[in-house]
Subunit: 225 residues, 2 copies
Amino acid sequence: MAAKASRKPLSRERVLAAAIALADAQGIQALTMRRLASDLNVEAMSLYYHLPDKEALLDGVVETVIAEVGRLDPNGGDEDWRTRLRQQFLAARQVMVRHPWVPGLLGSRRTIPASVYGYYDGIVGTLVGAGFSYHLAHRALHAFGSMPLGFAQEIFSPESAGGSMEVDAAEADLAVMAAALPHLTAMVAAEVHDSTDPALGWCDSQIEFEFTLDLLLNGLERLRG
Amino acid sequence: MAAKASRKPLSRERVLAAAIALADAQGIQALTMRRLASDLNVEAMSLYYHLPDKEALLDGVVETVIAEVGRLDPNGGDEDWRTRLRQQFLAARQVMVRHPWVPGLLGSRRTIPASVYGYYDGIVGTLVGAGFSYHLAHRALHAFGSMPLGFAQEIFSPESAGGSMEVDAAEADLAVMAAALPHLTAMVAAEVHDSTDPALGWCDSQIEFEFTLDLLLNGLERLRG
DNA sequence: CTACCATTCTTACGTCGTAAGGTGACCATA
DNA sequence: TATGGTCACCTTACGACGTAAGAATGGTAG
């Protein structure tokens, strides 16, 4: 009679899925063993039957998301290597947009899930298949940085979607800021002015991502062969 | 008579310096209020007289290190914009090599210290002074990512100097790995083979950093004007 | 019914950040 | 000299965290 509540048995997969859902909803700092357990209608220590410790939980979470990235490589390799990698990286970006906490988590992890190696192996295959030497392919991998995984190092506004800079500018005295940061304020002013949709904020991450990606791809194309 | 011990009075600067020293020596995870206090021969709560909370401590630490980066821009702007930025970013890299925990900390911070804006302002100034439009300068800033601060997103071996990949390869069966990751193993084999100094590990971060940097600089030069 | 085993829970420990308020040294004023 | 105030640091305590140790539950096989 009493509330039976959910009594589907726990499992590693169910725990990992709940962890990802929790991080998506509340942020990575909300992902604690106790909160995760309570989301699963379970006590914290019950999680330890399915996972050795929290490190393993985070490893599993990263691995699960990366697997999602690695799975989206269906089309055959008859196109240009650039369009191929371009599509792949942009698809990866869509995954990261859905899980914005993954880049930070991945960066703080000290061991890299094995599936990442397989994913990068495919990229090297694409490169050498297009005529790259292994040496240049290696350089290319480093140059790409984290773009194959769908994100780039964004110093400004790592979290808030709109970017905090304009908010700060509204709070502080604009004239003072223009004096201290003449070039930055001029740049923002110029960019906001001819922005097609200023409501979206003056930094469109998607466009910046593609710009940097193409800059790298075109530069590498010039070095090929 | 009794051990007087160190009784120099505390100060925000002394606390921040000790925090940086502690993180340098023991890693960022060792930087707790209690450990930091004990390094200063003081109780944990004494730190709260000079700093409101730990967030402020971390902000101050980041700000201090970034200030160190911003201070190394002495030479006038008569050289090519590329060599100027190149020198600047490579000098910043030396700071990050001394404080390898800063990139991760900076990435996890939600507010950016004000000094960073001033630093980036100078970069925009260099770019527009060289004929860049504000629009392209904006793109360039995003393309550089964290390189102005002296680091790049390194997925592989973010922590250990030599890179953990070769260690893993030694542990696992090489033949199995070659089957699962044919392109990567071939690449590593090719790179190790013609490496001038294989003892240093097959990834030379300095060279990778410069390669990526030049790739971006040259690509931007082509787009200028 | 009983013995077993997989799964979940209870209790407790040490560490963390930090709120609340106490203690002593120093110093100006009466 | 006595008084009160402010600065700098300390004591105690609380709740949240990860997790070690072992007890309870409940289903299944003999």
